[in-house]
Amino acid sequence: MSVTAKLFKLDDREIPFEAGDTIIQAATRAGVDIPHYCWHPGLSVAANCRMCLVEMMPPPGRKAMMLEVARFDSASGTYVKEQKPKLVPACQQSVAEGMDIRSNSSDHVIRARASVQEFLLLNHPVDCPICDQAGECRLQDYWLEHQQTKKRMRDEPVHKPKAVVFGPTIVYDAERCIACTRCIRFCDEVAKDPVLTLRQRGNLNEIAVAPGRQLDNAYTLMTEHVCPVGALTARDFRFKARVWFLRSAETICTGCARGCNSYTDYDPRQQKVYRYRPRTNETVNKHWMCDDGMLSYRRITEGRITASSVEGQVVEDAQAVERAVSLLRGIDGKKLAILMGSEFSLEDNAVLLALGRNLGAESFFESGQPSGKFDQVLMLADKNPNTAGVQALLDTDPLPISELAQGVSSGRFTHVLSLGTTLKEREAEESLALQKATRIAIGSHQGALAEGANVVLAVACWAEAEGIFVNVGGLAQRSSRAVLPPSGLEPAHQVIAAVAHALGQGPKQLSLSEIRATIDRDARELAPGTVRLARIALPNLVERPVLWGTQLGPSSDQSGGVQSGYLESSLDQSSQDQSSQDQSIGKVRFEKNRGASL
């Protein structure tokens, strides 16, 4: 923003704006709420809900445009002639300098909002008790804020189709729909799959799926997310939980390397995660997440390793650690292959790296999920949330897995210590070569590396521990803990620290801030410009911990990590340029663009 910001007046308050702003954009940025249903910061303007109507005062010396209206006077029982100003939708009206806008201070606006709200509820069914949106529904919120009247219409409301299956993920209820068209615009503009449309008019108006199609693109759950009312509900979440019982943790989606900012909604009473929701971050995922990512919360509980084991026998965690220590004690570091975990946080990997280096290991590989489908919106082929973090820590690319298999068969590696239990290359998992080595697997989920391993150390997964994940663009983002780990498991960095301690390498307990300080110190001590680790901009993590997960400091370079190829998709074109609330906490910069998998 330039120093001499241009200003306009909203309810007698001076508000700065940028060229091209609409009233609602400038107001939202200034923290002023104008009620709205159909406007969404990431979608085009429809201006059809009329909830954001505001009064625009005429320029000095000019008369306001007034409309002749007939108002029913209940005292006399007749209609009386009256004038009212023509109100404008704040989502569509662009701002000009010196404009005088009245929102909460205008009686006309207050009356208009109440009328719009009453109109939207005219045919609304009495569904709150059975509606999944209850508790986070705009109709409920705005009734209290802007209407507060009882029903006046005594007729039977219009009945429309309910529980219409739109596709594998979404169910539609036409009676609850206010026809704001957010879902249609989302499919058109962001998902680039124009499969929804409006049909009929007036009170028969409803959303319809294109004939012969289903709502089955990769972003269907976002239609439910943008729906301001309970018209679209996710089949996955329907009737599972009540939102007022859920708490939200600010997390990072671990479904792929994009690192979409998300909320993990969980029930604290049962320590159970019910859903992911996108968290707005203009530089990463804007307002969106893909279906695969949204549903990846299921993996928190699916296929978990819930107990440590030695030679296939379930044992106490301490015993497993003891066994791992005895296997690792005194071995030749050159014969030890270490697999870093690209599904695990930066802290977990940093502790593992330190353990490996202290043991004299020289060969570092990488575990993780195999590549999957990708698109031009958000989804990346790399299905691991921390590939970039592992690379940055290693200061080089991890060695190819083929070398690992080869090394084990040739006897070059006698021990394999892995964080994570799957390999990015499925074929390598299937090869029997690894069976020959003594294997220690640290992991949260079952996988080839855990099967038949000499020691399996069970640890907490991403939802059960705080940690930093470095996304494809080099943004180090903090993900907080949502639920408690099953059966008292510890985060991986604690377990690895316990192993290292038993080997005489360091303290038994390592706090996250200590690990972060170490990462940061390593980054500073290495010569800048030569080593990748030196460019992990982690000082924010260490020096201003209060800012974690909220905002980058003003001095940090916000554009450096975000380069072309990264988000050069329909997202950029469709969403309007909003104030960027960058919730990342530091970034890793690379010479070459890591987002090339797009």
Partner: protein, 404 residues
């Protein structure tokens, strides 16, 4: 009995000249609340004492911070549990101050009538228990019978004898029943008759008077500096009654006298309470005369008051209103407010802090009992051990209110 076989010489009793340390309570027949009094006795005279409260601390101010504002009412019921209606009304008044709303007149008179009935039951309990502890059992039964009648009224109106949870922000849970006035008048006639009889019985009893007069004296200055309020302060001659000093609801238009004592001894405290019962009966009569038989009991404000059940089940507007008020609670505007009421033991203060959400940010209660009990040490030091009983009884410490 076993015969004393010991030689008299060897059984010689040596009485120590040192003060004796004695522990009374926390559970003791004469402490009708859980309170511990550690006394240092020289002979039978108390030379030093330490009064320890907190045995009934349940941390309910903290508990208030997790529900909605209306969910605080059941907690304040358990403050002064001998007159819970006064607490209910006090909290409602504080919330309404923050919301800047005033309940309809019908509700105000209803609240006053119920409140004064609660005060009578409070004073009856205190005076009855005090008499009983000094050996007068008959008046105890008479007064308990009268209190039972008041609790019958409460049960009729609220459904509960003791913990009514009857107050609501913006009104009361229910309007008065059809028989409320008739029932209350009949009970008031009996209560005043009982008081007259009790007075005749006790005030001609030499033992009773000797146990109270000039025992546990406190001066007006000391009472004020200890933060005393209510009947105990008035017994020391300070005519401070919140209903008169800062009239709330409709107390400004009601005729009643504020009885004060002359010496500030246990007898004065006893007499002030007896007289206040008569004054409360006067107030009840006046409020019943002013209480309309029909009309709204709750404010007409959809932000605050639950909708009609029929609307909830048949219209979306009613459903939404019900949902917002029940699930999210009444949203008191962000800010602070101090609401007060003359409770059974004096000024009951509610200091509320709201952050604008439906959940209290802080609920602080100023319990009159806490400050009055703080003066117990002052009034029993120098008295005889046996004087603890009338002194403690006359202060009417209510554990729920004092310890919260």
């Amino acid at each position: 009995m076993e015969p004393i076989e010991r030689d008299l010489d060897s059984a010689e009793i040596r009485l120590s000249a040192d003060p004796m340390l004695l522990n009374v309570g926390p559970s003791h027949p004469a402490t009708h609340g859980t309170v511990r009094i550690v006394v240092e006795l020289s002979g039978e005279t108390i030379v030093r004492c330490d009064v320890q409260v907190g045995y009934l601390h349940r941390g309910f101010e903290k508990m208030c911070e997790r529900g909605t504002w209306n969910q605080v009412f059941p907690y304040v019921d358990r403050c002064n549990y001998v007159s819970p209606m006064l607490n209910n009304v006090g909290l409602a008044l504080a919330c309404e101050k923050l919301l800047d709303i005033v309940v309809p007149n019908r509700c105000q008179y209803f609240r006053m009538a119920l409140g004064e009935l609660a005060r009578i039951s409070d004073h009856l309990t205190c005076t009855a228990a005090m008499a009983m502890e000094l050996g007068a059992f008959t008046p105890y039964l008479w007064m308990m019978k009268a209190r039972e009648m008041i609790w019958d009224i409460m049960e009729e109106e609220t459904g509960a004898r003791l913990t009514h949870s009857f107050g609501r922000i913006g009104g009361m849970a229910k309007p008065p029943t059809d028989g409320f006035k008739e029932h209350s008048r009949a009970v008031m006639a009996h209560v005043t008759k009982t008081i007259d009889e009790v007075e005749r019985l006790l005030l001609t009893n030499r033992i009773f008077l000797d146990r109270l007069e000039n025992v546990g004296v406190i001066s007006a200055e000391n009472a004020i500096s200890l933060g005393w309020v209510g009947p105990c302060l008035r017994a020391s001659g300070v005519p401070y009654d919140v209903r008169r000093a800062h009239p709330y609801m409709k107390y400004g238009e009601i005729e009643f006298d504020v009885p004060v004592g002359a010496k500030g001894d246990c007898f004065d405290r006893y007499m002030v309470r007896l007289e206040e019962i008569r004054q409360s009966a006067r107030i009840v009569e006046q409020t019943l005369n002013r209480l309309e038989d029909s009309g709204p009991i709750n404010v007409d404000d959809p932000r605050v008051v639950l909708p009609d059940k029929h609307d909830v089940y048949s219209t979306i507007e009613g459903t939404i209103q019900h949902f917002k008020l029940v699930m999210e609670g009444v949203k008191l505007p962000a800010g602070e407010a101090y609401g007060y009421t003359e409770g059974g033991n004096g000024e009951m203060g509610f200091y509320l802090v709201s952050d604008g959400s439906g959940t209290p940010y802080r609920v602080r209660i100023r319990p009159p009992s806490f400050y009055v009990t703080g003066g117990l040490e002052h009034i029993i030091t120098g008295q005889m051990m046996a004087d603890i009983v009338p002194c403690f009884g006359s202060l009417n410490m209510i554990g729920g209110e004092c310890d919260r």
